[in-house]
Amino acid sequence: MPATSLVIAVAFGYLCLLFAIAYWADKRSDAGRSVVSSPYVYALSIAVYCTAWTFYGSVGQAAIGGIDFLPIYIGPTLVAILWWHLTRKILRISKTDRITSIADFVASRYGKSQLLGGFITIAAVIVVTPYIALQLKGVSASFNLLLAAPAFHDGNFVQPSAFRDTALWVAVLMAVFSMLYGTRHIDATERHEGMVAAIAFESLVKLLAFLTVGVFVTFVVFGGVGDLFAQAAERPDIAPLFTTVGTRGYGGWVTLVLLSMAAVLFLPRQFQVIVVENVDERHLAKAAWLFPLYLFAINLFVLPIAIAGRLLFTPDAVEADAFMLAIPLAADAGVIAVVAFIGGLSAATGMVIVETIALSTMVCNELVMPILLRLAWLRLAERGDLTRLLIAIRRGSIVMLMSLGYLYFYFIGGSYALVSIGLLSFAAVAQFAPAIVGGIYWKGGTRSGALAGLAGGFLVWLYTLLLPSLARSGWLPIEFVDEGPWGIALLKPYALFGLAGLDNLSHALFWSMVANIGLYLGVSLVTRQSAIERIQATRFVEVFQHAQAGSRAQLWPGSASYHDLYELVARFIGKRRAEQSFAAYAASRNLALGKLSHADADLMHYTERLLAGAIGAASARVMVASVVKGKNVGIDEVLQILDEASQVIEYSRQLEQKSRELEAASSELRAANIRLREIDRLKDEFITTVTHELRTPLTSIRSFSEILFDNPGLSVERRREFLDIIIKESERLTRLINQVLDLARIEAGRFDWQMEAVDLPALAREAVLATSQLFKDREVALELDLPRELPPVHADRDQLMQVVINLLSNASKFSPRGTGRVTVRMIAVPGGVETRVSDNGPGIARENQAFVFEKFRQVSDAVSGKPQGSGLGLAICRRIVEHFGGRIWVESELGKGAVFAFFVPFAEAPAPAVATV
């Protein structure tokens, strides 16, 4: 057996070696010659997945359940297929946005939500604490086992009570390492090369240790694999281990595969090594097969060692988890036992170190700082250099996490097998999956959805796994598990809502995922994203689409003067805050702002982020661009800005619509204005024309009145002649005034219509009688072609009379004296009566026909001699006929006379009897 002092010396020496490696790697990194920039180191660091649980627990698991230990490694192997897409996407997003932890990732995706970040952090602490306890248990148990080796010779093993103190010391040492290499400095990228180097080394050590023990047990203690399995096959209690799927059944397998798939990506430490510590995206491709290969190798001897343990020890004499050490010790191979111990130690320390560092970053950034920054009395925001504070918080967090782990181990962990504790954590970590995977493939996921999903999933996890596990440890009454709270069977934590028949883990996974995914999708669908959420969602989901622009977002081409940037920021967040922000920046980079004339790309990016807090990311970029000199804003860059700001687009779309509406309204106004002006112009023209038309008869009246007044000696004939003219012109004036007033009244809709059933032929005869003198004077023949009877039309009798008289007098005026011939014809057409007044006058040119019914549009140009009339007659006719629901038109050809026709509808549908008379 190895001497106590030797074991302690080796363990201590090993830890010192780790410190040395980390120190050396950090120095190399500072010097710019990174040792971790290799896909092999990267893959080894990912193997931090294999913890003390793997090292001791897999064998323990295999010893009880055969190949049950495998799904935990099949999951990660399967998920490696997805790496090139899923993980690479997470990686790209994280690099672009400088994500520092998984909590940061989720918070960032859902609108940089502090609430989400804090929630994930707390959940992670709760989840990981038992896991850390698990490592402490593994290390201290193995240590004590090694020291208590003499007891094995009797085939009995009694656990010494001292191992709890050992755990304490292990915890202290690990905390020191984490504090030294996990929080050496505060960096925007949160990468820790020294730590990564040490972890990679540890992965190598644990693999070699495992293989060494495996080879020793298989080939030295036993006569090779064949011998081992042959012996096992003869034992009826061992043989089933490698012939059946074990205790969980296939359903349990699927559950474990799924859980480990989530765990290998989303455990805080896995996220830390895979994403945060990643140096080069291309390393992912090689790690995607190196890491599964590692898993394969480290699991190669699990089953042989487990079988060997079962063959060598009587059940219950030795804990199956301790076979790794117990077999070499029983074989009296102290060196191999120490190798195994070192392997277990390295597995445990690796996990604890990375986990605590990852968690401390989360606790510091997502939990403590947001709270401290809100406490106004601390005036934290005004302090220049916060880096010391940040380091202190992180170191404090590490101590706290280690303490929690130790306390959990001390009070609870002693009672439970390693595997159970580990699976508890896995099931909890799986709760992150919907929010993360949904977040990077589905833009619709909202902050509320993610919060609801996570909260729901964790509550179910708490109820169906954690509380029962506490109950089993005696911390809660066990009746709660067996009979349900308050005896309600439906709420039994292991058979929720009556779902029985599954193992506890599958049961918990099923219900927690139902709650998680259901709430995530459901709440996301009914809630709205804020602007920042939408921008982030687009950035995350479409990270590959603008991969080029994404990397450029970090670097501003061109340069800006420091002064300009300062002025810019001061404008938005005030001089004081701007000064503080830039001072903080300078302090974190050891720059003297006074000496800065030109800002580098980093400072510009910093400025952009400062501004983004105040005015939004998209606007910030535009603002910074405005002060950057020598920078050509490319079209793709502009597109990216637009891309990022889908909200801005939406907003501007609304603005555009508003402005379009305004434009439409103003163009309507313009049109209305034009119409009004046109109306005004027409009115003006109308008045001018009316005035002219009024002045003409007035001129004659005045002239002849004055002539008569000035010449009392005129002959009676002359006097009569002149007075006759005065009378005629007065009549003309009166007629004109009446027409203008009629027209004005009709147009204003104030005409007093007396609608009735009118006998049109009778009316026509009357009109002919009234105009007969006119025709006689002008020597024009008038013919009537009227049916004996027509159904009455619906009209105002007097106005309709005016229309007919007007048409008749026009016809008489335009017909040639002597040979003139005017015909009035009426015919019943469908729906009404058509009246046609035709003459054999000069006719109206086609181009003028449209105008004759307009005001003052006499076609006098076409005839020799000015026609009598005001130019209002036909305009009034048209309005009258149209008021009756009819229409008026002219049919004519130049030189072939004209037909003025109008249609007026019947008063009612004509009775057939009347129509046929």
């Binding site: 005035t691 002219h692 002045r695 007035l698 002239s703 004055e706 005839v863 001699g865």
Partner: protein, 124 residues
Amino acid sequence: MKSVLVVDDEPNIVLSLEFLMKQAGYEVRVARDGDAALAAFRDRAPDLVLLDVMMPGKSGYELCQTIRANPAWDRTKVVMLTAKIREVEREKGIALGADEYVTKPFSTRELVDTVRRLVGDGDC
């Protein structure tokens, strides 16, 4: 004996002008439109023309322009008669070479005075 040409398309106005001018002692000729007026001019340029602006065919403005364009008719005084009362119309008439611009309805005495002022008494 001074001669006056009356150009208007309103028969009653022509009648009154003819009466007034004859009474004032002028020789009066009448034209019902622009073409008739030009024919009368070519026959013998009058001493004065009373010209209506709004006429079918050639307007009074056009006729005035034609008269002024012919140096042979330089002597003839032009008096525009119009119902257009806007100041711009008056200015247009004067600009086109009219000697007077009289708006309708006019005072017969003033019109006769205007004609006299332009060409002197008809009898001498």
